[in-house]
């Protein structure tokens, strides 16, 4: 069985199933030895687990703090109730229901699916809004939009009396109609499916690309990731799961009212997610267990059966909410990544099996001499920042089999030029061509897919992902967009960058030299036609810079990419470049071989401000 399939499908499934059995087993035992109250508690816990798993799919993978998921739950809950409540009951509660809904009579299963579907459709619309607002991790606009959803749904539910019977009464199933949960069979099934869905989504292409965008939106785009697409898919799946959980909640309770899916429940579920670790699927479950246990404990302590006079001032009703708020606050201050961080049980197994596995030989690149030279052509680019002209008619050509250097004093416009080529900055004039294709006006991720991949002056790795995952994700992002270009094996790149020992280390833990090497490997994984490197040796000593020359040559040769490198270390530039452009104050003041440039007095003057030496 291919290693990839084992890692990404079998092990996660195994881990999930194990966790599931532990959770369900523990719950069943607890319910069996307890009374009816503990039975009800376990049921609630399992249902909450479904909801929280749904939330994890979105919040965990995209990093966008959504307050609206319970709002989606409300939509699903009401849709479910309206569909599943018998027409006789409906006639009594909402006789004037619009669209002839009072006649609808579906089985609970059908109602559940219909409800989830409706919620997903609404989610699609909201998702479009989120995309348009540029949602990403930490974005306030996204939080506001989702908060608005929660609020609006609540208000509609309270006021649209014909449909929902309003806020005071709500809708309810007949207690004698036989429409009860009847054991936890459905819940077990829903939980299993939710768990599998969440765990596997994390490993799919969409999940992983969403995680990359979560880690660093800009870096992800520069690799060809379109964050909005991944976020939308995560949203739709997560809303589906949350909706199923919501319908179960309504089913178990036997009624619904607007308060059931509003701030309190949002607080509860969010705290569960945060405490366990929002980037971990099993973490979501752990959070559910911890908070449920803690809440129950506080409820017990604050209840009538406990009488500790000394602690009386603490053990009062309302202690549960204090516990919830304190948990959220405490974790944010002391352990923002939750109990588990982003750990999953199968990671443990994967680490162990890693040592014993035999590495297969990585695939080598095809030898292709017939490929004609390509050109990256920048023509007369002008960039204005307000009144300041950063680039004044700059032209540059790089071919696919050379290394072109871009040097110049501070503020000359070098990074601006790279930013313009990769569409982070819009030029006022000029054009950029890749062979026959015009790149003007394309968004960053499409330029990356066309084959121009860059690194950043301030290192932008995906911090929470491992070395191997950083490279894998880049490869994944480019796969399908390479236009026939050969994509190097992840294994090959890991070895070529000398990062074999560190492959499972998180990118945030790497020392600088290794981090730069990873950056290079990651860029190469995207099968670029041109590598734009922004100060790859900054902060490096002489020896490391020297090594960097070899590494870049090696990697560029591997993927047969042309290189444009910006740097200040002229020793490095001289060693690696075939041709060099010198930029000063937004203009190209010299072009030539490194030797020609270093003799050029004009260049010297630009750097030093004037001629220096005894013959002055």
């Amino acid at each position: 069985m291919p290693r990839r399939v084992v890692d990404r499908l079998v092990l996660p499934l195994a881990g999930s199933l194990t966790t599931y059995l532990v959770l369900v087993g523990g719950g069943t035992v607890y319910a069996a030895i307890g009374n009816s109250a503990s039975d009800g508690l376990v049921t609630q816990m399992l249902i909450n687990a479904v909801v929280v798993l749904g939330m994890q799919i979105y919040i965990g993978n995209t990093g966008v703090l959504s307050f609206g998921h319970i709002g989606f739950g409300a939509i699903a809950g009401y849709a479910f109730a309206i569909c599943a409540i018998s027409p006789e009951r409906k006639a009594a509660q909402i006789p004037n229901a619009p669209f002839g809904l009072a006649e609808v009579d579906l089985t609970p299963l059908q109602s559940s699916l219909v409800a989830a579907l409706i919620a997903v459709v609404v989610a699609f619309v909201i998702g479009l809004g989120l995309a348009r607002s540029g949602a990403r991790s930490g974005a306030v606009a996204a939080t506001v939009i989702t908060l608005a959803l929660l609020f609006v749904v609540h208000e509609v539910a309270r006021n649209w009396i014909d449909l929902t019977r309003g806020g005071k009464a709500g809708l309810s199933f007949s207690p004698l109609s036989g429409v009860t949960l009847q054991g936890r069979g459905w819940i077990y099934l829903a939980l299993l499916l939710a768990l599998v869905a969440a765990r596997l989504f994390k490993e799919t292409r969409y999940g992983r690309l969403a995680q990359a965008a979560r880690e660093d939106d800009l870096a992800a785009r520069s690799m060809g990731v379109h964050p909005a697409l991944q976020q939308m898919i995560a949203l739709l799946l997560s809303v589906f799961v949350v909706s199923i959980g919501a319908t179960l909640r309504v089913f178990e309770l036997g009624s619904i009212n607007p308060r059931l899916f509003f701030f309190k429940y949002t607080l509860l579920t969010l705290t569960m997610l945060i405490v366990g670790g929002r980037n971990s699927v099993v973490g979501a479950l752990v959070g559910v267990v911890i908070i449920t246990t803690g809440s129950e404990l506080t409820r017990y302590l604050a209840g009538p059966s406990v009488d500790l006079p000394l602690l009386g001032w603490v053990l009062r009703s309302g202690l549960t909410d204090v516990f919830l708020g304190a948990s959220m606050l405490g974790f944010m201050i002391f352990r923002p990544n939750g109990v588990l961080g982003d750990w999953e049980p199968d990671h443990w197994i994967a680490r162990r099996s890693d040592r014993k596995s035999t590495e297969k030989q990585p695939e080598l690149p095809p030898v292709d001499d017939s490929r004609p030279d390509g050109f990256l052509r920048v023509t007369d680019v002008v960039v204005d920042f307000g009144g300041f002209r950063a680039l004044d008619g700059v032209s540059l050509t790089a071919s696919s089999n050379e290394v072109v250097g871009l040097i110049g004093p501070n503020g000359a416009g070098k990074t601006t030029l790279l930013n313009t080529i990769t569409s982070l900055v819009t030029p006022s004039a000029g054009s950029i061509r890749l062979d026959q294709d015009v790149l003007d006006g394309l968004p960053s991720h499409l330029i990356a897919r066309a084959g121009i991949v860059r690194t950043f002056q301030n290192l932008r790795l995906f911090p929470a992902l491992s070395v191997q995952e950083n490279i894998e994700v880049a490869r994944l992002a480019a796969a399908g967009h390479t236009g026939g270009r050969w994509q190097p094996d992840v294994e090959l790149l890991v070895r070529a960058s000398g990062l074999t020992e560190l492959r499972h280390r998180r990118a945030s833990e790497l020392d600088y030299g290794n981090a730069r090497r990873l950056e290079l490997a990651r860029a190469a994984a995207a099968a670029p036609r041109y590598l734009l490197l922004d100060e790859p040796t900054s902060g490096m000593g002489d020896l490391e810079s020297e090594q960097m020359i070899h590494r870049i040559r090696e990697v560029a040769g591997l993927v047969q990419a042309g290189v444009v490198v910006v740097d200040h270390d002229l020793n490095f530039i001289t060693g690696i470049c075939d041709r060099v452009y010198v930029l000063d104050q937004g203009k190209v003041i010299a072009v030539g071989t490194p030797d020609e440039i270093s003799q050029d007095l004009v260049v010297q003057a630009a750097y030093l401000g004037g001629p220096i030496g005894p013959s002055r």
Binding site: G63, L65, G129, L130, R132, S133, G134, S137, G138, A139, V140, A141, T143, V144, I145, L147, A148, L149, F151, V152, H154, E155, V156, R158, N159, L218, F263, L267, L270, I274, R316, S317, G318, L319, T320, D321, V322, L324, G325, A326, M328, L329, G330, M332, I333, P336, T415, N419, L424, F456, Q457, N458
Partner: protein
């Protein structure tokens, strides 16, 4: 025509309160990059303080300034206990922290006071109306507008004419450069919270005069409105926050008066919806604040 005028005054009256809250939120965001969802707790605390002081026999004339002071002190206390630890943390963490504080304080009130709302007397004169040239204006609205303008003027004076205000604005723009000038980060942040608290206190006085009740969620609604107003204006812009507050107040009044009978209860929902739409198309708010990201 007269009706429109009444509504405009009404709108400013509401908007004034929102503007004060929004300004407080914008001030904190400016220095700490934090959207303070716990801001509403200041109003809740004020509500309970009002209730308690009434029970002790105090009068509105004394209670009003007391509330303003209490709100200011509470704000500084919250910074000291909670936000101090998360300075410089990623945005997600800070957002959740402020929600955590919000829920915690609310829960503490439920626990130690009561889950129910307590009533306290509202000054009778606020609901009187004056007839000015054929238009009926509520004394209360006029007073709110007056005091809001006074408070904004005072705030403006503090920000523009005092060293503290200048330091605050400098720190909000470039925290490190401000430190280079000799401005102490601790003091500035605490000062920002104090200012923000005082503003909330003034807003609370009028909010409570109208609502006449104290409960654990007393601060929720005004806080949301304030946050929305600050966001409309574009976080970080102080003038934007004030603008946002006025716009919000106006929108509410106009909606309430123009909506058909059955939909009036949805006013809040519609306002929220409009704001969400604003954020879809203009996520940076109405007033753009310079903040470039170095690549």
């Amino acid at each position: 025509m007269t009706e429109l005028l009444q509504q405009v005054v009404d709108g400013f009256g509401r908007g004034g309160i929102y503007a004060l809250i929004a300004l407080g939120i914008a001030v904190i965001f400016g220095v700490m990059h934090l959207v303070n969802f716990a801001h509403g707790e200041l109003i809740t605390v004020s509500a309970y303080a009002a209730y308690g002081l009434f029970a002790a026999g105090w009068d509105w004339w004394l209670i009003a300034p007391a509330i303003v002071l209490i709100a200011g002190l509470t704000s500084v206390a919250i910074e000291f206990v909670a936000f101090r630890w998360v300075r410089g943390a990623p945005d997600f963490t800070m957002l959740m922290t402020s929600f955590g504080v919000h829920f915690l304080v609310q829960a503490a009130f439920v626990m130690y006071v009561s889950a129910n709302f307590r009533q306290f007397p509202r000054p009778g004169w606020i609901f009187q109306t004056w007839r000015v040239g054929g238009v009926s204006l509520e004394v209360f609205d006029l007073l709110v507008i007056l005091f809001t303008l006074l408070t904004l003027a005072a705030t403006y004076w503090v920000l523009q004419r005092t060293m503290f205000g200048m330091s605050l604005r400098a720190a909000a723009e470039d925290f490190d450069a401000a430190r280079l000038m000799g401005i102490r980060s601790d003091r500035i942040i605490r000062g920002a919270f104090a200012l923000s608290g005082l503003l909330a206190g003034v807003a609370a006085v009028f909010w409570l005069m109208r609502s006449g009740q104290a409960g654990p969620s007393a601060g929720l609604s005004p806080m949301l409105k304030g946050v929305l107003a600050a966001l409309i204006g574009g976080l970080g812009s102080l003038t934007g926050a004030v603008m946002g507050g006025v716009i919000l107040g106006m929108a509410e009044v106009l909606l309430i008066s123009r909506l058909p009978e059955g939909l009036v209860g949805l006013t809040d929902g519609i306002v929220f919806l409009l704001i969400a739409l604003l954020f879809v198309f203009r996520p940076q708010g109405l007033v753009t604040v310079r903040r470039a990201e170095r690549v």
